[in-house]
Symmetry: C2
Subunit: 244 residues, 2 copies
């Protein structure tokens, strides 16, 4: 594994993880899943580390918080990248499965892992997998809105994420119990929803019985995130089809 700059960052209200990753030589960097409320913190860290932000990546169109992508783009050289299937407007790069991006000496690979939403991407960098809301630590993203589909999510996790080497580290988009990382091996053994002895039917049954409230800010967050966090745009009618 190459040495790289790595900062996991947390936003307490929605228990969201943001990741800042940089190449120490070239100082080129990316950020994954920034939140609008923490843009000033993230900009300060980018500045203090003398990093040049090349890409601002979204794992998906979030329903629980507004992305900081648009605001970060205004203050840096960063280009916004998101899944092509998301239908989001305002990004610079629309990613498809297996697309690669490079920053300095580091290569990131996009893996389509739909199911939580229909267009979720996970990002693989040098033995680390940033899973967004597809695979969480001892959990998974929910599948009851934004074209979520339990069968699809099960296939993404079991056929794609769990096909990576066991020692691959998992860095999720959220954690609600204070865990910060896991591994493919741990989730195969201990994830109560998708561990290897569970069948697809087990998973579908688990997901159909969760009875979760919708995220508090979904009606605000999804339209804003369909514009990559541009909350000042007025053309909100055309881009909320993905919202429900």
């Amino acid at each position: 594994m190459k040495t790289f700059i790595f900062h996991q960052l947390f936003e307490k209200e929605t228990s969201t993880y943001t990741y800042l990753i940089g190449d120490p030589k070239s100082k080129q960097a990316i950020i994954i899943d920034p939140t609008i409320d923490m843009v000033s913190r993230d900009l300060q860290l980018i500045h203090e580390l003398d990093l040049n932000l090349k890409y601002i990546l979204e794992t998906h169109v979030h329903a629980d918080h507004i992305t900081g992508a648009y605001n970060l783009k205004q203050k840096t050289q960063g280009q916004i990248a998101i899944s092509k299937n998301s239908g989001a407007i305002g990004a610079d790069i629309y990613l498809e499965d297996n697309d690669q991006l490079t920053f300095g000496n580091i290569t990131l690979k996009a893996l389509a892992t739909p199911g939580h939403t229909h267009s979720c991407m996970s990002y693989y960098i040098e033995g680390l997998l940033f899973t967004g809301d597809a695979l969480l630590i001892r959990g998974t993203g929910r599948t009851d809105f934004q074209q979520g589909n339990s069968k699809t999510l099960f296939a993404s996790i079991r056929n794609k994420i769990f096909n990576l080497p066991d020692e691959t580290l998992i860095y999720p988009g959220h954690d609600y119990k204070g865990h910060t990382s896991s591994s493919v091996a741990q989730e195969k053994r201990h994830n109560p929803r998708v561990k290897m002895q569970n069948t697809e039917d087990d998973f579908i049954s688990i997901m159909s019985h969760l009875k979760l409230d919708h995220p508090k800010r979904i009606n605000e967050a999804v339209p804003a995130n369909m514009r990559c966090g541009n909350i000042h745009s007025s053309n909100s009618n055309q881009d909320t089809n993905n919202g429900q």
Copy 2:
């Protein structure tokens, strides 16, 4: 650097970090600064990873939360270790400056870093420094109770922590902005209180103007932590001298 099992764990209410570190071969492990509210989470992780908890380490007598050390000891083989100077009762090991503990193939070294309290210890393991409330990310512990002393804390950070190699990673006992780690080099440059261009007088002045409220739970936490988290003990009269 040797490869080891490493889990940083967070408790949201008091923004406290707990660290679980293990030797992959022998499965011997330690935990640093567990909290009483998260003992079941921590026990589950220890169990899932098949770890044998050898030591339960306190960086200091906490004022903002109750340690989970006593409760963890009841459910594991773990021995509680804390600074000898703390005066805490109920520990198995009383550490002095430069003492070492080994678990499996890994050696931990205790570094006395007083100033936030008079008996704070930092723990060094293989390029990582667990600083408790001595050095925080872009901050420091406060110095206005528990025999706190700004002059002492400045000396601990500048003469001891900042004497470690620049690439040493800093893992603090708390973070209130969602940072998870830093480095000696970063803190030397960017810590507004103790960066290298600040003098001792600068630091003392900064600390004397903080005007912080006392932690909400100090009157409950300090007496309990002076018994290493044994909240059921009745002999609370003799061990609260350190509380104010």
